[in-house]
Each structure stands twice: as structure tokens, then as C-alpha cells.
């Protein structure tokens, strides 16, 4: 739908105006029919799965940290910190996400506590990111509206590759927290954080910065890098799994459509990645029904898969599918991977999914 118009990913620019004018903003999205009784069962909250998983997660974090510190100064600390980094900086993303939705635990305050801890681990302002994620669900991959489009078009492949190291995200996240701590929100942030909530973003940023200052002070005081390797540092060396799994959510698929089957991807993954990722590999299902907790997503998938595109059987398969699309988008940014719905599926507003691909073949 974007035609030859260059995409403007700011949230207050030309693409924003177009999205609002064409009805892409705050649109009615497709939902597969699920009987109310069944959906009620799927939506039911329970503390026990998330308490079990959180206990395992925290125990693994503490265990790997203890091993890393114990073996500090020898090569034996490396595997412990590799595990610690992923648990700290990748697993926290899915905990942040699920608790932000309020679906992980039935008890609200536990959701909120884990949300705050995970936000800190990720160097994410818990207030601005809550609102940006709400926008992501309202306007998923709508250019000019969605604040969480990971790979914009034309894709910057170097930047995407560097994302696996966490360097770019670190460079963005820490200065953003400092800026917010000084009371400054960008026009984009102001576009999705209501005015009455903006002061909360400033307070949250100040708390995060205070903890980082305390960590640096401790490192100086004890003449050791260990505090920084344990707090903040994992954002550099442990982010790769979050990027590996998270990039696949929407990369290479259509933008500016109002059907999550066309712009989101479900990928079958190994059990370890699914634990770290808390089942967000069922991403079409999550976007279509964000009320369904992570532990019920496999059941939801079985229920509605007849109406969804074929899932990718593995991450490797998904990346092999995406790579040539990214290369083609370098020359022709309107190109995307067109999802085929099964013959039994109900099509929905397919006009948004139509684009002239002939230029891409040249």
C-alpha cells in the first residue's frame, strides 16, 4: 500500500498522517473465530506455571552468577557468564513482555514486580515501553504508528547484525534513560505516552540510573569489574538470544496490513528457546489474542492453525526464508514475503496485502 512513497518511521511524520487518513491506524483487525467458552478457558489466569518458571529462571540466574564469580579470573567463568547473560538479558525480555500484558500471573502485584525487575534488566523504561507496546498491538507494523518495528525498510543489515551483540541497543537504551531521567521525552515518546503518565517515565528512569550509578560506585570501591559484568553488562553479551528469536516475529513480512496472519510469524522452536522466550514463537496467535497467557499459546495454536499460514518448522528455516527477502528489499523496499493462507482460511482485507512486486524482479 505504501507504493513508491519512502517510508517515514517517525511517529509524527508523513507516514503517520497517511496511516490515519487511510484507516490503517487503530483499525479493526482480523480474528479467527473461537467460541466464547473455549476462549474463556484459554484466557484463564493461573499463578502456578509462571511461579514455577520464574523460580527456575531466578535459580538459574543466581546459580550461573555464583559460578561466574567463583571462577572469576579463569576460563571456567566463561560458560557461566554466557548462561547468565542469556538469562539476564534475553529471558528478561519475554518476562517483561508477558508481565506487561498482565497475563503471566493471576496475582496482579507479582506481574508488576517481575515487570519492573525485567524492565531494569533490559534497560527499558517500564512506563514508556508499556505504552509503546500497547501501540505495537494497536498498530502492528503500521509504518508511522508502530514504535517497535525492529527492522525498517530498506533494511540496514549491518545494524541488524550488530543487534546480536547488544552494542547498538545498549548505546540507545542507556542514553535514553539518562535523557528521560532529566525529564526529556522525545516527540515520538510523547505521541504514545499520555501526558498524565509522562512524569512516571521520568521517575522510573531516575530509579534505573540511580541503581547503575550505585553499581559503578561499588565496582570502583571493590576495584573489580564483577558488579558491572553482573548488572548492566549482560545487556552487551547476553542479548543475542532475544534478538535471534525476536527478530523473527515480523521481519520480512508485510507492513501496513490489518491481519496478523500476514505480518507476524509463528515458528516452531526447541524447548530451551521456548522457555527463554516464554512461547512467544506463537506470535500470530499472541497478536490475535493477547489475552491468552504464554502457557496456553500451544493449545491456542492447535485450535486455530487451520486458519493461519503454515508455521516455520525451525528458526533456521525462518532465517533462510527471510535472508533473500532482506537482500531484495535493499533494492526495492516495497518487497515482502507474502504469506499464503490455507485454502480453508477466511481472507480479510486482502487489498492491504496487494502490492506490485514486478519491480523487485528486475
Amino acid at each position: 500500500m505504501a507504493g513508491k512513497v519512502k517510508r517515514d518511521y517517525s511517529l509524527v511524520g508523513e507516514s503517520t498522517r497517511i496511516a490515519i487518513e487511510t484507516g490503517l491506524a487503530s483499525a479493526e483487525w482480523y480474528h479467527t473465530d473461537v467460541p466464547r467458552k473455549t476462549m474463556k478457558e484459554l484466557m484463564q489466569r493461573s499463578d502456578s506455571p509462571a511461579i514455577r518458571d520464574t523460580a527456575i529462571w531466578l535459580a538459574a540466574i543466581l546459580g550461573s552468577a555464583a559460578g561466574g564469580v567463583y571462577f572469576w579470573g579463569t576460563w571456567w567463568c566463561v560458560p557461566f557468564f554466557l548462561a547468565y547473560g542469556v538469562l539476564y538479558a534475553s529471558a528478561s525480555d519475554s518476562r517483561w513482555h508477558e508481565c506487561g500484558h498482565g497475563t503471566a500471573f493471576r496475582t496482579r502485584w507479582i506481574n508488576d514486580v517481575v515487570y519492573q525487575i525485567a524492565s531494569f534488566m533490559l534497560m527499558r523504561n517500564p512506563v514508556t515501553w508499556r505504552w509503546s507496546h500497547a501501540r505495537h498491538h494497536t498498530d502492528t507494523i503500521i509504518v508511522g504508528r508502530d514504535a517497535e518495528i525492529a527492522v525498517m525498510r530498506p533494511p540496514d543489515l549491518l545494524r541488524t547484525a550488530l543487534a546480536f551483540t547488544g552494542i547498538l541497543d545498549f548505546r540507545y537504551s542507556l542514553p535514553a534513560l539518562v535523557r528521560q531521567a532529566f525529564g526529556k521525552l522525545t516527540p515520538d515518546e510523547k505521541s504514545y505516552v499520555p501526558e498524565m503518565e509522562q512524569h512516571k517515565a521520568v521517575i522510573a528512569a531516575r530509579w534505573h540510573i540511580a541503581i547503575y550509578i550505585a553499581t559503578i560506585a561499588l565496582a570502583v570501591f571493590v576495584h573489580s569489574w564483577i558488579p558491572l559484568v553482573l548488572v548492566g553488562g549482560p545487556r552487551l553479551y547476553g542479548t543475542w538470544h532475544m534478538v535471534l528469536t525476536g527478530l523473527l516475529q515480523h521481519i520480512g513480512l508485510a507492513d501496513n496490513v490489518v491481519d496478523h496472519r500476514l505480518n507476524s510469524r509463528t515458528v516452531y522452536m526447541n524447548p530451551i528457546s521456548r522457555f527463554i522466550y516464554w512461547n512467544m514463537n506463537y506470535h500470530v496467535e499472541h497478536h490475535m489474542f493477547p489475552m491468552v497467557p504464554y502457557h496456553a499459546l500451544p493449545r491456542l495454536h492447535e485450535l486455530i492453525k487451520h486458519d493461519l499460514p503454515e508455521p516455520n518448522p525451525s528458526m533456521w528455516h525462518a532465517y533462510r526464508e527471510v535472508w533473500p527477502v532482506l537482500l531484495r528489499q535493499l533494492k526495492y523496499e516495497d518487497y515482502f514475503l507474502k504469506r499464503e493462507l490455507p485454502p480453508t482460511a477466511r481472507p480479510y482485507r486482502g487489498e492491504f496485502h496487494e502490492v506490485n512486486m514486478s519491480a523487485a524482479a528486475e
Binding site: M39, R45, H101, G102, A134, H137, T138, P194, P290
Partner: protein, 104 residues
């Protein structure tokens, strides 16, 4: 003068659940609490246009299906981001097996 309008039969709403009721160009949500009491609110979330009848009722909370915003459906109170504006509530009574709501 506010009118009492028949919204549904008592049995139309399961316990700890919600249904949609449209009347006079407006949309409402009718709730049946776990204590077998009935309540009514505006149908759409105050955050964005999502109908609460597709949401989840837990005790005295209705959770919006779109962004998981939470309201107390008995008082209309918004319980925190992403909902900041309270929900309009309406008086409800049950007569002869029918749920009636008073619409201003």
C-alpha cells in the same frame, strides 16, 4: 428522565462472565459477578475501541481484550496503564428473570 431497559435474561450471562448489549446506537457490557450479582458499564474500553464483552472477567475486574487494560466493573475505576479514564457504570436491577439497566 432515565429509562429502565431490558438488557437480557438472567441465564444469558454465565457466572463470572460478560455479554454485549446494544441499545439506541450505544453499546454496553453486562456482567454477572462470581457472587451472582449483575452490573453494567459502557461497552467499549476507554483506552481504545475494543469491546469489553470479548474480555475476561476475574472477580470484580474486567480485562480488555486488546491491551489488557483493567477496570473494576462494579465501580468503573480504571486500575492502571494502559487505561487511565474510568468506565461509565449504570444501575442494574433484576425483575422476573430479566436484567434491566437504567440508561440516562
Amino acid at each position: 428522565m432515565a429509562d429502565w431497559v431490558e438488557a437480557c435474561a438472567v441465564d444469558d450471562v454465565d457466572e463470572e462472565d460478560v455479554i454485549r448489549f446494544d441499545h439506541g446506537g450505544r453499546s454496553f457490557a453486562i456482567y454477572r459477578s462470581p457472587d451472582d450479582e449483575f452490573f453494567a458499564t459502557d461497552g467499549f474500553c476507554t483506552h481504545e475501541k475494543a469491546h469489553l464483552a470479548d474480555g475476561l472477567v476475574m472477580d470484580d475486574i474486567i480485562e480488555c481484550p486488546k491491551h489488557n487494560g483493567r477496570f473494576n466493573y462494579k465501580t468503573g475505576q480504571a486500575k492502571g496503564a494502559p487505561v487511565c479514564v474510568n468506565l461509565q457504570i449504570y444501575p442494574v436491577k433484576v425483575e422476573a428473570g430479566k436484567v434491566m439497566i437504567q440508561i440516562a
